[in-house]
Symmetry: C2
Subunit: 292 residues, 2 copies
């Protein structure tokens, strides 16, 4: 009941900000999902940032989304600076459709924005019976290995696979030691962040979220995480036509223009090469569960 | 000149082990490449392990490789227990061919073996002008997060992208703190391994490579690396028809049967969604170089 109320509240807010009803619903569902899966950093707390961007005219509440079919498998989408949820929803649905027809779907989205949790979209593909990768880039937060200046986003790697049960395998991991939303939340709540996840501007470790936000976040595993985040920047930014190389604008502080975040979705049928995928993944998970 | 000599030597060894000449050359080129890019752990030191497996009849020196075309984009390959280099070479070439025709190539290889460096294959795609992912799984070396028993391989994530120059962007990173080959090499040379990369059987840290080889390697970034390695096991093992979930046999010690390693190659054209990819990647790299 509370969920229904929260959903209606968010829809009403977005309607006030001139979103069409179907778009307002898409946004509300994504935000509610973040709360339900235990990621409040990507949940209701974000509503205000989307609204602020609409008010400052750097998010387009009434986008004309252009869908350009390149082949049965491949589609290019221009989200016309819609709220990120809209570009991502159109993108993943299109990739699923392509995969249904041809076995594989490859879909790029440009001129989009922050779309919340990648896992939400990957899970949609898995529920439809498909393997998926979702890539998106983010504003500079991490310094590339060897640098003291931020350039890379927390650029998550996200993968999902259907299982034999209703619960799919979903991996959605930022390439930073902790996600930026958690640091923002700590700042809001006046809490400290763990040691070893961020540095101040000069490169000294800090546990103060406000100093961390102005400084650098650390990538996972040093040069390895730095490389993985760079890979995601190429996939989601360079390839799609989105911003890249440190040019994605911060959704909270930078109103000088649209974010132009890019997304890349790769979706394919798990039974292309084997006949008994469900049996195989069931066995795979069983072996993990046995020892953990 | 020394390289030519080494190449001829390796070819001659593999010919003695009954490989056809073209296959012997493919193996030699991959092994020499590992030395030249600074990965001796995947270079000449490995020759003996492949030969031992041929001698023990768990690698097939005269494989009949089956190539099953599923669509213009998708191909399934059964490598018939060839040396891993052969299955991988056929796989990446097929993926490149499919991508040339349809924009994207998705190729799975099963009944293959250890194929050396993933980056070698990803680089081939990049040199041909394509983006690529190469996934392969490996024998158990890493404990899943929360377990004290190995199950996951060092399962690399490998991605390459063409650049404006002759040097492509290649990311080839194992999901372990250090790669297993490096631990084997340290054992051979009587050297220690760094602290924090491996545990003994009981879960205590160790710097002794021999104890580490019998114990557990640690994944990068704790549960994040554990999840990434699991993702690779699903992609390269569950999906392809290869072994998975801890069943890939160790190439050095386990002669009870073929390894049945799986590989998955995803290759696509970088100019599907933008017209000026080379210009964009040049700009991207420039921004990184400016601050590092």
């Amino acid at each position: 009941m509370k969920i229904k109320k929260a959903r209606k509240l968010i829809i009403d807010i977005f309607l006030k900000y001139k979103l069409p009803k179907n778009h307002a619903k898409i946004c509300a569902d994504a935000l509610i999902n973040a709360e339900l899966v235990g990621s409040p950093s990507h949940g209701l707390t974000r509503v205000i940032s989307y609204c602020n961007r609409i008010k400052k005219k750097v998010i387009n509440p009434k986008p004309k989304i252009k869908i350009k079919k390149i082949s049965t498998s491949i589609t290019s989408i221009d989200a016309d600076n819609a709220v990120g949820f809209i570009g991502a929803e159109v993108g993943i649905n299109c990739a699923i459709k392509n995969a249904k027809k041809s076995g594989i779907g490859l879909v790029a989205v440009k001129n989009s924005g922050h779309f919340g949790l990648s896992g939400y979209y990957a899970e949609k593909a898995a529920i439809n019976g498909f393997i998926s990768f979702c890539f998106t880039n983010a504003p500079p937060a991490i310094a590339p290995h060897g640098a003291k200046k931020t350039l890379l986003g927390t650029n998550p790697i996200c993968f999902a696979a259907p299982t034999e049960s209703k619960v799919p395998f979903v991996l959605d991991t930022s390439i930073s030691m902790i996600n930026r939303g958690k640091i923002r939340r700590a700042a809001k709540l006046g809490k400290k962040i763990p040691f070893g996840v961020a540095l101040d501007k000069k490169g000294n470790p800090t546990t103060d979220p406000n100093i961390a936000l102005k400084g650098l976040q650390l990538p996972i595993a040093g040069f390895k995480g730095s490389g993985l985040a760079w890979m995601v920047d190429i996939l989601a930014g360079v390839l799609t036509g989105g911003n890249h190389g440190g040019k994605v604008k911060d959704p909270f502080d930078d109103f000088t223009g649209p974010q132009n975040v890019g997304h890349l979705f790769i979706v394919f049928n798990p039974n292309l090469f084997v006949k008994d995928y469900k049996k195989r993944i069931k066995e795979n998970i069983k072996r993990f569960k046995k020892i953990t």
